[in-house]
């Protein structure tokens, strides 16, 4: 039995994923369920609608945290696969849905589903994170998420001319900040070399770089070069490509 009849009315993809073997969909579903946090984020769903009413993404996209919770709770493998490809990246992770009276955290559940999508290099994950690579590079390599030098007009065209003004005065304005740690331009604040090395070791020991490799091989290689070199300088013989 390869098709779950429950999922048919909601498959608005026109059977896009029909050719993916059921066993593969089930494997990914089981990976979501195997996460230690799974039982913290999903109990069951009685369709009260609280999560949807509180959800910003549900107002903007064809997105429903209730459908995601319901589909996973029903163990509807086909529908879950569709959602993992087409829906989970719409979530804005604000956790407004955490008021679920059943104790579910749809936002938390989506986090686990996204991790599985990334770990398995799903096309949807690659698409969603297209253009996001520079941010991943920044956080992984510097330990700060956004840096002052990202404030460039081409990156934030809809923020207006004030971004140009910042970009033009960046170095001067950073030096006009009284806190000593904020004089940086390429990082949010100055992070010590020892701290960065410790962060790289955490990435190494937790397999995070393997996840990045799945969704963006090029980004992985750049990060690998940077990190392995700095680790080597610090006296660590570490390779991320194992």
């Amino acid at each position: 039995m390869n098709v779950d009849i429950n999922s048919m009315p909601l498959d608005l993809t026109g059977g896009k994923y029909r050719d993916i073997p059921y066993e593969e969909k089930e494997r990914l579903f089981n990976e979501v369920k195997a996460d230690v946090r799974f039982h913290d984020v999903l109990y069951g769903c009685y369709e009260c609608g609280v999560c949807v009413a509180a959800c910003p993404s549900a107002r903007f996209y064809d997105f429903s945290p209730r459908v995601i919770a319901q589909a996973v709770a029903r163990e509807d493998v086909e529908l879950v696969y569709i959602l993992m490809n087409d829906s989970i990246w719409d979530c804005s992770q604000c956790f407004s849905c955490d008021r679920c009276p059943r104790g579910n955290s749809p936002g938390g559940l989506i986090t686990l589903m996204r991790e599985v999508a990334v770990r398995n290099g799903l096309e949807s994950a690659k698409e969603a994170l297209e253009g996001y690579g520079r941010i991943i590079y920044k956080i992984m390599s510097t330990g700060t998420q956004v840096s002052p030098d990202m404030l460039q007009p081409n990156a934030f065209p809809d923020w207006g001319h004030h971004v140009n003004e910042i970009a033009d005065n960046l170095d001067l304005w950073r030096r006009a900040l009284p806190p000593e740690t904020l004089h940086t331009v390429e990082t949010g604040w100055s992070v010590s070399e020892k701290t960065i090395i410790e962060l790289y070791l955490i990435w190494h020991m937790t397999g995070v770089m393997d996840m990045i490799k799945e969704i963006d091989e090029g980004l992985f290689m750049i990060l690998q070069d940077v990190m392995e070199e700095r680790l080597e300088d610090a006296g660590y013989d570490v390779t991320f490509d194992e």
Partner: protein, 401 residues
């Protein structure tokens, strides 16, 4: 009959007057501290205690939370430091004004949760290890972490749950900390800077030099502060009958600011983590249509005050495109730390660093009796010194000159 009959609706109203108070006995959630201290007893981890002096506040379920006044280790925020640096500068400035001991460390990384919520390119063990590494770094300085970012605050509470309840996560983190030569340490409380501002709100009011009673402010409480692991957030029977978090609102009221109510107060700002960087159509529409326009229509405030990185950024930056489309926008956005600093006489450019903000804020300053032109000239004079090479950086002494 001459007997005075009280209408039934008056009876119904009168029984609600005192406001609501939770008692810890009724709390529906476990007190994580019980587990935390038990694990410490079993030698599983080390608890970093809140240092004296601290202020006790009440959280959602009526429990007490200790907010340290000083000996704090400032866990900075990526977005604040990167794009709205007057936010964190104001927090430091307030500490200095009160003569509180604090550390602004370089031995700190981002909690990395912004990226994690955006891209999922991480996992529970990595997130917990990043958190504990930072906490261990704080412990090494003998200070207590004060978290600047709402998302870090929210995420660290998630991490706390995972560490306390899943021995697999603990085991992995212990293995990593051993490799790094660090202790597996976790703080007794996760404390957000806005809780610290709230805890000292009366002291700030005592030293207030700018009258703010003409100001109407609309408050946006940050989702990751009061929704994500809700029981750590501060509630007060005197603020909305303890039916909404007291944070920010309590601080503004202490400064004499009027609160401008609006019906979408609970809605998210639209930040969205990934969205604000690469899918901004969503963030922009949500911020303008569900937040700013509603505030403008219903409260017409002079300012929006919030207490998280993402919220200040989204609500402020999104108004530019809204204005281009003729939307009802144009409300400056600041953090509670900036407002508190301003009330105590901080310089709007040298300390609040308002030139990093987008939406026009000069009318707001003028309403407070501050001349923005003059203040900007003072700032430009300081910049000139840097340009001329007289000094390389602006110092705290320059900021208060």
């Amino acid at each position: 009959m001459g007997q005075q009959v009280i209408p039934v609706e008056e009876l119904i109203k009168s029984q609600k007057k005192p406001g609501f108070k939770y008692t810890p006995e009724e709390a529906p959630t476990e007190d994580y501290r019980d587990i935390l201290f038990q694990l410490e007893k079993e030698g599983e981890l080390e608890v970093l205690r809140v240092p004296e002096p601290y202020v006790e506040v009440t959280t959602k379920y009526g429990r007490k939370k200790k907010i340290p006044l000083e000996h704090t280790w400032h866990h900075k925020s990526c977005g604040q430091c990167g794009h709205i640096p007057g936010y964190s500068t104001s927090i430091f400035w307030l500490n200095r004004q009160f003569g509180f001991d604090y550390v602004d460390p370089s031995d700190q990384t981002s909690c990395t949760a912004w990226n994690y919520y955006a891209s999922a390119t991480s996992n529970a063990e990595a997130q917990a290890a990043v958190a504990v590494r930072n906490f261990a770094a704080a412990a090494e300085t003998g200070r207590f972490p004060l978290i600047h970012c709402g998302t870090s605050f929210g995420h660290y509470k998630e991490v706390r749950h995972e560490l306390l309840h899943h021995h697999q996560v603990r085991r992995k983190v212990r293995e990593i900390m051993e490799r790094l030569g660090k202790r597996l340490v976790f703080p007794e409380e996760i404390v957000h800077y806005s809780e610290w501002v709230y805890a000292i709100r009366d002291r700030i009011a005592e030293r207030q030099v700018i009258d703010m009673s003409a100001i109407v402010a609309s408050v946006h409480p940050a989702c990751h502060y009061h929704k994500l692991v809700e029981e750590d957030a501060i509630y007060d029977p005197e603020i909305y009958g303890a039916q909404r978090t007291a944070i920010v609102t309590g601080t503004l009221k202490a400064l004499g600011i009027q609160i401008g109510e609006y019906s979408s107060w609970y809605d998210c700002c639209g930040f969205g983590f990934r969205h604000i960087l690469v899918s901004r159509d969503f963030s922009r529409s949500f911020a303008v249509q569900r937040k700013i326009e509603v505030m403008k229509e219903e409260a017409d405030p002079d300012i929006v005050v919030t207490h998280d990185t993402g919220c200040v950024t989204t609500l402020d930056q999104s108004q530019f495109a809204g204005k281009a489309h003729g939307k009802k926008v144009g409300i400056p956005v600041m953090s509670d730390s900036q407002i508190a600093a301003l009330a105590m006489g901080a310089h709007p450019y040298k300390v609040l660093q308002l030139h990093w903000h987008n939406t026009e804020n000069r009318p707001f300053l003028e309403k407070l009796g501050i001349d923005p032109e003059e203040k900007w000239r003072e700032f430009e004079d300081a910049l000139e010194k840097l340009k001329r090479g007289e000094k390389h950086y602006l110092t705290w002494e320059d900021a208060d000159a």
